[in-house]
């Protein structure tokens, strides 16, 4: 349900925008209220807290005719609106030295739109009691799977986002939900301890739990199998990715490089490759809050721009990037609904949403059969972008060895994929007909500004350096 609090402040925000519009050519206010809970049940501790994404507050954005300024604040009321107006004017004021040394940026288009958007939870809403009982059941089943499971965590996290965006011509509200169930079993043999992970991420309590419950034994067995894992012999191998690793490649290898605030700063190599070949002709890549239903699906972004589905790569050719509104104004392009903030306390940047490769026509079994010696890589650990120089580092939790088209039973962990992005993307030779987007990720810009994202796609066959 849309936040009663934001609803109660809606008219005050309109009033403040009207006052600021008397002074500035453009003014807008974004209000954000994210609530929800995180429930953790482990072998030793149970805890309940507010969701990590929790926030409630506002940010005012103004254009002084030369640059954009912002002021973040926690509350607005009839008593404080006068003081707040003065505070915004005072705290965002720039002296001549700063004001005369600015980028060339125009005023926001501010096209008229008034709309309320709503995406409720699908199916039954579970009570905290039901959630804890189900998490405990998952935990008990995981422990009973094997004595080697020494420790286990099951986590439920749910967040409900309400946002309002008001400017002179725009008056938007939205409300949507998302949730994750996560299982992390740790297997132990003496001093050797290994973990695995399973995530159910849907806009449904039942589906999120069911996914983990259906994959529980497989997840526990993976942790046990990892006890006998070794480090890989470093080298260049044929690989097959699972959808999480496919998503990691889409996100880290290429997605960050097409964030167009990087174009503005001359930080993205991809800006020189528009309409050029960057990947195998089998590759199609999308990003967009409306591209699929997942963790980063919203109706409008933090600039008040409606959600898009952006086709980034088509048949291996780079089509376009994604952008927030201020970057688009500097580049003379259209914003793509990718202006996102970590919270109302932080600046909006161009950020990915749901990023994925499209599915192809190959069967996974044929892909495995085609490998003479290589690895199938599983489960994203982390990755790091390098948009200017297109180096790639993707860390996979583990890999399974394939020889002469069959799994040998040997597991290596962890596995670091590295190399040059176009080499990796051009090496893609098979794309499976299966497709999955995993909606449980968090992404930073550089080393900060964390937002919820999803990524995924089909299985890919490629070739790259593993260590």
């Amino acid at each position: 349900m849309y936040s009663k609090y934001l609803q109660s402040r809606h008219d005050l925000c309109l009033e403040l925008v009207a006052r600021l519009n008397k002074i500035y050519p453009y003014a807008a206010i974004l209000g954000k209220h994210v609530s929800g809970s995180t429930i953790r049940v482990s072998s030793t501790i149970t805890s309940v807290s507010d969701t990590m994404e929790k926030q409630c507050g506002f940010v005012a954005k103004i254009y002084n005719g030369r640059t954009y300024s912002e002021y973040s604040f926690s509350d607005i009321s009839e008593k404080t609106i006068d003081k707040l107006e003065k505070e915004i004017i005072k705290k965002t004021a720039l002296d001549d030295e700063l004001l005369n040394n600015h980028v060339d940026v125009k005023v926001m288009k501010d096209e008229p739109l008034k709309e309320d958007f709503y995406r409720p939870v699908e199916g039954k809403i579970f009570s905290k009691e039901e959630i804890i009982a189900r998490l405990r059941e998952i935990l008990a089943r995981t422990h009973s799977y094997s004595e080697k499971i020494a420790f286990c965590m099951s986590i439920f996290t749910h967040y409900e986002t309400s946002a309002l965006f008001v400017s002179k011509n725009r008056d938007l509200t939205q409300n949507y939900t998302w949730m994750n169930v996560i299982l992390v079993p740790f297997a132990r043999e003496g001093g050797n301890m290994k973990s695995s992970r399973c995530v159910g991420a849907y806009n449904s309590y039942e589906e999120s739990f069911r996914y983990v419950e259906e994959h529980l034994e497989e997840t526990a067995q993976t942790a046990i199998d990892l006890l006998s894992s070794t480090l890989i012999k470093p080298g260049v191998y044929d690989i097959i990715t699972d959808p999480t690793i496919t998503g990691l490649i889409a996100h880290e290898a290429f997605g960050h490089g097409v964030e167009m605030d990087m174009f503005v700063k001359n930080r993205a190599k991809s800006m020189h490759y528009l309409n050029k070949e960057v990947a195998s002709p089998l590759v199609e890549m999308h990003d967009g809050a409306s591209a699929v239903l997942s963790a980063a699906s919203y109706f409008f972004d933090d600039d008040g721009v409606l959600a898009h589905d952006t086709l980034i790569i088509k048949e291996g050719i780079l089509q376009t990037g994604i952008s927030d509104e201020v970057s688009a104004l500097q580049l003379g392009t259209e914003p793509t609904g990718n202006g996102r903030r970590e919270s109302y306390k932080r600046k909006a940047y161009t950020r990915m949403t749901n990023t994925f490769f499209s599915k192809g026509n190959d069967k996974l079994e044929d892909m495995i059969k085609s490998i003479k010696h290589g690895y199938m890589l599983f489960e994203t650990d982390n990755g790091m972008e390098d948009p200017k120089n297109w180096n790639i580092q993707c860390v996979c939790a583990y890999g399974k060895e394939i020889k002469n088209g069959k799994f040998t039973g040997k597991i290596v962990a962890p596995v670091v994929m590295s190399g040059y992005v176009p080499d990796l993307l051009k090496s893609i030779s098979m794309v499976s007909d299966e497709f999955e987007v995993i909606g449980s990720g968090h992404c930073g810009k550089g080393y900060k500004e964390w937002v919820c994202v999803s990524d995924g796609g089909p299985h890919l066959k490629a070739r790259c350096k593993l260590s």
């Binding site: 040394n101 973990s195 120089n389 550089g446």
Partner: protein, 430 residues
């Protein structure tokens, strides 16, 4: 806050409570090249309330966010929901910390001597003073100044407030060479402003970008035998944090630690420098310094490791209580490690690769994997040095932790003071 306390103190079913308040003022500038794109300011406040419910010698807890807009009815609803939740989270009983006599001093910083609007211009000047190269420049810069007032209140009488000041500068130094451009990433964090230090650091990172522009792909097949790996700064801190992990109450209580007090954390055969490690509340210009932790525990220095042998444990009050520790240390924010005897110059007399920028070094505590892709390194083949790129390193931490050599040079980071460089043996280079 008064309203919240009044309702909390009247609430039946609340056995204890804790409130953490963080009030943040910020001043921020965002540049594209040397031109201002956006300026920001903020004045925000966050309240985190934890309530505790005791039942059958057990204690449950649940936390919620309080917003100043809430009226008494809304606060009561939040508390009732938290009591309900806490009833499902009954864990082993633990006390909250009691008040301790402590004098909280004003932080030693110059960030409180001028208004942020004036100060941020001085920071901006120091940053761009170093941006003076024909082929090198800062493609993007973000400057943040924060004043943070933290307060911890609990139902046992703890009520402590303290101020911290922080500065962050994110820069992207770039360098043009033969029609191509490269960049490196840099984040400076400080609790006191020294324009000369900032200008020096920016100059250094611009020259790193120059090195990266000249860097050639490392030919790993032509490396001399026994070429050593040297890591620095952030990755050095990561290594020492991994050593300390097994001594944290939380890991010990959950039986996830691999070593115990009395064990030699470096293994039996130590040929490298011996580890001496302390956890401390504050260290000059270590930005994470603070006098108390989030539970209200007044922090004091603890010697954790002496000559490689684990002496003490540390960590959150609750897990310390569970383990029967008489005076749990609380979460100490800064680690101090004793430096080694060898200088960088001595380390670099024989063939080496010094890894200057990783994509992100991985160090997995349980698998022992250490390694990652190196974006910029300096390679010395015994005769000449070259900037190199396009390679990865990999090793097994358990097998090398007794052989690591610590530098005499030290570095201070937000949560660390100690050796600036480490010499890692037996690493695969691919």
């Amino acid at each position: 806050m008064k309203k919240l306390l009044r309702v909390l103190n009247k609430s039946k079913g609340v056995s204890a409570y804790k409130i953490n308040v963080k009030e943040t003022e910020s001043c921020e500038l965002f540049y594209v090249g040397k031109k201002l794109e956006t300026n920001r300011a903020s004045n925000v406040i966050d309240y985190e309330v934890t309530i505790y419910v005791d039942k059958d010698e057990q204690r449950g807890n649940a936390s919620f966010t309080y917003y100043p807009y809430m009226d008494e009815k809304e606060i009561k609803e939040k508390i009732a929901d938290a009591i309900f939740s806490a009833g499902f989270t009954l864990n082993k009983f633990y006390e909250l910390p009691s008040p301790t006599e402590v004098e909280i001093k004003e932080p030693e910083t110059n960030l409180n001597k001028k208004s942020f609007n004036k100060l941020i211009k001085a920071v901006e000047k120091a940053v761009f003073k170093a941006d003076k190269y024909h082929d090198g420049y800062l493609s993007a810069t973000e400057i943040f100044l924060y004043k943070i007032k933290s307060r911890i209140v609990n139902s046992k009488g703890v009520d402590i407030s303290y101020l911290t000041y922080q500065g962050n500068i994110e820069t992207i130094p770039s360098w043009r060479r033969k029609g191509e451009e490269v960049e490196v990433y840099n984040m400076s964090k400080f609790s006191s402003f020294d324009p000369k230090e900032i200008a020096k650091e920016i100059k250094e990172v611009l020259l790193l970008a120059k090195d990266r522009s000249r860097a050639k792909k490392l030919n790993v097949k032509r490396l001399p035998e026994n070429v050593k790996i040297i890591i620095q700064d952030e990755e050095v801190e990561q290594v020492f944090r991994d050593f300390a992990m097994d001594l944290n109450y939380s890991l010990i209580y959950q039986k996830m630690n691999l070593k115990n007090v009395g064990d030699n954390l470096q293994g039996e055969d130590v040929s490298g420098d011996k580890l001496n490690l302390k956890a401390v509340p504050n260290y000059p210009n270590a930005m994470n310094s603070c006098p108390v932790d989030d539970d209200g525990v007044v922090l004091k220095e603890v010697e954790l490791v002496k000559d490689g042998v684990a002496l003490n444990t540390f960590g959150p009050y609750r897990f310390g209580y569970y383990l029967g520790v008489e005076k749990p240390t609380g979460n100490l924010p800064v680690m101090v490690v004793k430096e080694g005897k060898k200088t960088l110059e001595e380390m670099e007399r024989t063939p080496y690769i010094r890894c200057i920028r990783f994509s992100g070094m991985q160090l997995d505590h349980h698998s022992g994997f250490i390694g990652g892709e190196v974006r910029l390194g300096i390679y010395f083949d015994g005769k000449k040095t070259y900037p190199v790129t396009g390679f990865s390193i990999a090793g097994h931490f358990d097998k090398i932790k007794g052989k690591i050599v610590y530098s005499q040079e030290t570095a201070t980071r937000p949560g660390y003071h100690g050796p600036k460089y480490l010499e890692l043996p037996d690493m695969a280079i691919v």
